[in-house]
């Protein structure tokens, strides 16, 4: 346990203040978007209810709730970025008044861990599209397991659960992995990420090209 704690402290020390502030800022921005999607999902659910497809209302858009971990990890490229940013986003949602309450923080940690695992598997070195998509899927898997426990999927028929699982993974791949990369690249185009890993990578590429 204390080992973990020192590891956590080391990780924190390797982070610059500006990276933490950026992560937190992303957390805040996406928390607002997350909350909007929560209500959007609520509407979707209500539309789908008469067809008996209510849970798919959330499953289809579930990927959006992992996007910040992909964006933060892709921009900052340091161990912990995915986990911490997702946790922050969850915390901010609680502060903003999410109906899921403090329990959402745990959900955030688990989703963040899911994404983090994918990056850890590449030793935080590879941030290609496939890894980002994988991270989205991995977050989906983690969140689904947690959801199975916390939302009582145990009571649902296995066929439905499998269908929900597949939809969630797809959503994670697209709405988190793919969209996350797109958003980050758009941001990098504006030049504001110069001081972060993604911006530097861009600059190096440009310099190589011009050389």
């Amino acid at each position: 346990m204390s080992n973990r704690l020192t590891e956590f402290k080391e990780m924190l020390n390797s982070w610059k203040l500006k990276e933490i502030v950026l992560m937190s800022l992303l957390g805040v921005v996406f928390a607002v978007i997350y909350l909007m999607f929560y209500f959007f999902g609520m509407g979707l659910t209500n539309v789908l209810t008469p067809f008996g497809l209510a849970p798919f209302g959330y499953e289809i858009i579930f990927g959006i709730w992992f996007i910040v971990s992909i964006v933060a990890a892709y921009i900052i490229r340091k161990p912990g970025a995915a986990l911490v940013s997702e946790t922050i986003a969850a915390t901010v949602q609680v502060l903003l008044g999410s109906p899921a309450g403090p329990r959402l923080i745990i959900s955030g940690i688990i989703q963040g861990l899911g994404a983090e695992v994918a990056f850890a598997a590449t030793r935080w070195k590879n941030y290609t599209l496939s890894v980002l998509v994988l991270a989205g899927v991995s977050a989906a898997v983690f969140s689904f397991v947690w959801g199975w426990f916390i939302s009582g999927f145990a009571a649902l028929s296995p066929g439905l659960v499998v269908a929900m699982f597949i939809v969630r993974c797809l959503s994670g791949a697209l709405l988190a992995g793919l969209l996350g990369k797109y958003v980050s690249d758009q941001l990098a185009n504006t030049g504001v990420l110069r001081g972060y890993a993604l911006g530097k990578e861009r600059q190096n590429k440009r310099e190589k090209k011009s050389a």
């Binding site: 203040l17 992560m23 109906p99």
Partner: protein
Amino acid sequence: MLSSVNPSVKAMTILIPGVLLAFMFDIFTPLAYLIFTVAMTFILSDIPVKRYLAIFSPFIIVALGFSWMTMLYTSDRFAGGEIVFSFLWFDITEGAIITAVSLGIRSLCIVALSLMFVLTTDSTKFMLSLMQQAKLPPKLTFGILAGYRFLPTFRHEFEVLRQAHRIRGVGRAKGIRGRIRQFRRYSIPLMANAIRKAERVAIAMESKGFTGSTGRTHYHEMKVGRKDWMFFSAFVTAFFAVVFASYLFGYLNIFGYQF
């Protein structure tokens, strides 16, 4: 009274029943605790009933939808008992109904717990108490707080950006497609500006001697006192009392196993 409970303690308190409820698949346990939570919310705070209902009622519809779906697709383990009615090609059993209603009420119970937290907690105080009680490193908490500071300014930033676009002759959006285009045109610059400011705030924090060391004093001191522990024990005890009562009455069902 609720708003003066230490936010970290309050969050912990709510988390315990929030997680443990996930084990319960009968109707009595979540229903009893839901009643307890709502009652306590009104007794311990002065939230207007109207406002509370306005926030709470949409979730009843969501819970109904969720219950309805659960009823149709209950797994075999939970779908015991007689068939009560049939709908299209679905046969709805007694077990399925009980499980579905239980899940619906459970989700409402979570909402009630969350509302109790959200409606009575100041966000900055929550952050400060996370730092002071949960011993999160200041580098992290103040980093977060600095990011959080942008929240109230987003509206303002959006307004400024819109003014800039107007001044530069980009007209206001009309219709849904225009709105979507406008969203695209604004969202990236809005985020880019925020990132730029975040970077400057980090510089500003360092320029004011912020080091991230733990030995700092606190202007707003968050304390944990007797009242907080009383609140904590009341809610946790109540939860176990409900579970015990449920057991005595023979309702208790944990993950499909009747006790």
